[in-house]
Amino acid sequence: MIQVEGLTKYYDDFCAVDRIDVDIQKGEIIGLLGPNGAGKTTTLRMLTGYFKPTAGQVKIKDFDIRNDIVAIKQLIGYLPESAPLYPGMLVFDYLDYVASIRNLTGSTRTQRLHRLVDLCGLQGIMHRTIGELSKGLKQRVGLAHAMMSDPEILILDEPTSGLDPNQIVEIRDIIREIGREKTVILSTHILSEAEATCDRIIIIHKGRIVADDRTENLKQSGGQARRIHLSLQNAAPEEAIATLNGIDGITAAASPHPNANDALNLVLTCRGTDDPRPAVYAAIKTRDWVLVEFVQQTKNLETIFRELTKEN
């Protein structure tokens, strides 16, 4: 569906996007993650034809971004960051204008407008000026704008930034609904959002792709070094460490924060794929220790993200 090869963008001397290669299949929901200034927006702007790439190839279906830009724009619905819609226009006038530019006429246009009003929850605000709308409502109008032509590819730049938690859930539901049939690319720096919505996650840092995998794989790849966090009361540190070290499958047991709240905090690093938790529990049961916390930590997306985008 979308093939990107060696996509590069320079702003004068500054390299914003550095040789990106991606192949996106039809029907995928892609999350583009990265810290501020990583090149997410620049990448999306090149895909939508707003910026010309300094170097590299973008092919969408059979169209090349340099030669068939209008054909590509027809395939893509795009919502720029913070939805910069014409502030002076009425919501209805604006959507009607977009519909006419998108070549929708007559009853098709009316039907499409009705459908989008339902989908994006625009009932009751069609007669209001866009500039008066709250951020969340404006974002929804922007979403309706992007979906106007029922495009095959939907590109959303930080669709949930600045929204309240309820609105985030609503927008997320809409995106997942659309993503069943369409290809969706969204950028975000909220990790839980990418985890909840996207099939595939691409992490970019300083203009380069540092990770590109399906969401489950990405989470599992970090899950190898499993750790168990343990908090005990009424236990002598040396005795506890010695006992737990004796359990098969546990490589180390150390106390990173001694004497916090009178409890002994232990971190157990597990070896291999076996689950050592039953053995740990059995060992604790034989003593006179009070178990106050017993948590298994798998590496989540956040840890992976932080490792990959660390400043070095």
Binding site: P80, P84, Y86, G88
Partner: protein, 234 residues
């Protein structure tokens, strides 16, 4: 072609919705009306020559005030990004905005038709120069609109766009009145480049291909420069 008319329609709607348009119309009518009629009864002649003499100078300030928002506003609010990611070409956008500007310039000329009508009631009015004058005004307005559009495409600040457009239009208007500053060798070239002499030719009722070519090339030059300014932003 469809896209051009849609963009033009949207821009025209914006013109007539915004209060700036009506302020510009009022100021234009006030200034031209006062400058024209304050001396009209002194000369005691039933013609509009004085009105058309002043028109290039008023247009040099009024037209850039109309066109200043065409691109600058979009660049400032960021809607430029939305416009460019809709399935339209640069040419559609530029021509659409240009035509909207020209139609608006024609719209501000319509109320001034009251002058020839009222003068014709007072005395014998020769309609030839009047028709020529309006034809010239439309051509001049189109040329200044193209220049103003270019100035607007350069900056996100409407005030800078206005000043830039007004300076270029004013220079073109005043050029052939400043001939004594120029060396004899370039005199003819400078004279040809000035907008007022071409406008006065048309306003006298002489439709010469050289004058039409002059305004046409100004339009094309302005629109092409705006196109370059848009490309630069990529």
């Amino acid at each position: 072609m469809h896209q051009v008319s849609r963009i033009m329609g949207k821009e025209l709607k914006d013109f007539f919705i915004s209060p700036i348009a009506y302020i510009v119309i009022s100021v234009f009518l006030l200034v031209t009306g006062w400058l024209f009629f304050s001396t009209f009864f002194v000369f005691n002649q039933a013609d509009l020559r004085n009105f058309f003499n002043l028109l290039p100078m008023t247009f040099a300030f009024v037209v850039p005030a109309i066109t200043m928002r065409l691109f600058s506003e979009e660049l400032n609010t960021g809607s430029y990004e939305i416009l460019l990611t809709l399935p339209v070409t640069f040419r559609d956008i530029i021509v659409g905005k240009f035509l909207a500007g020209v139609i608006f310039v024609c719209a501000i000329l319509v109320p001034t038709l009251a002058y020839p009508v009222s003068i014709s009631l007072m005395g014998e009015l020769d309609w030839g120069p009047v028709i020529g004058g309006y034809a010239g005004a439309v051509m001049l307005g189109a040329a200044f609109t193209a220049i103003g559009l270019f100035a607007s495409a350069l900056t996100r600040n409407q005030i800078i766009a206005f000043i830039l457009g007004a300076v270029i239009c004013f220079a073109l208007t005043a050029m052939d009145r400043m001939l004594f500053f120029f060396p004899t060798a370039v005199l003819n070239v400078v004279n040809y480049l000035g907008a007022s002499s071409h406008f006065q030719n048309v306003a006298k009722g002489i439709i010469d291909s050289r004058d039409i070519l002059y305004f046409l090339s100004l339009v094309i030059l302005g629109l092409y420069a705006a196109h370059l300014a848009m490309q630069e932003k990529e």
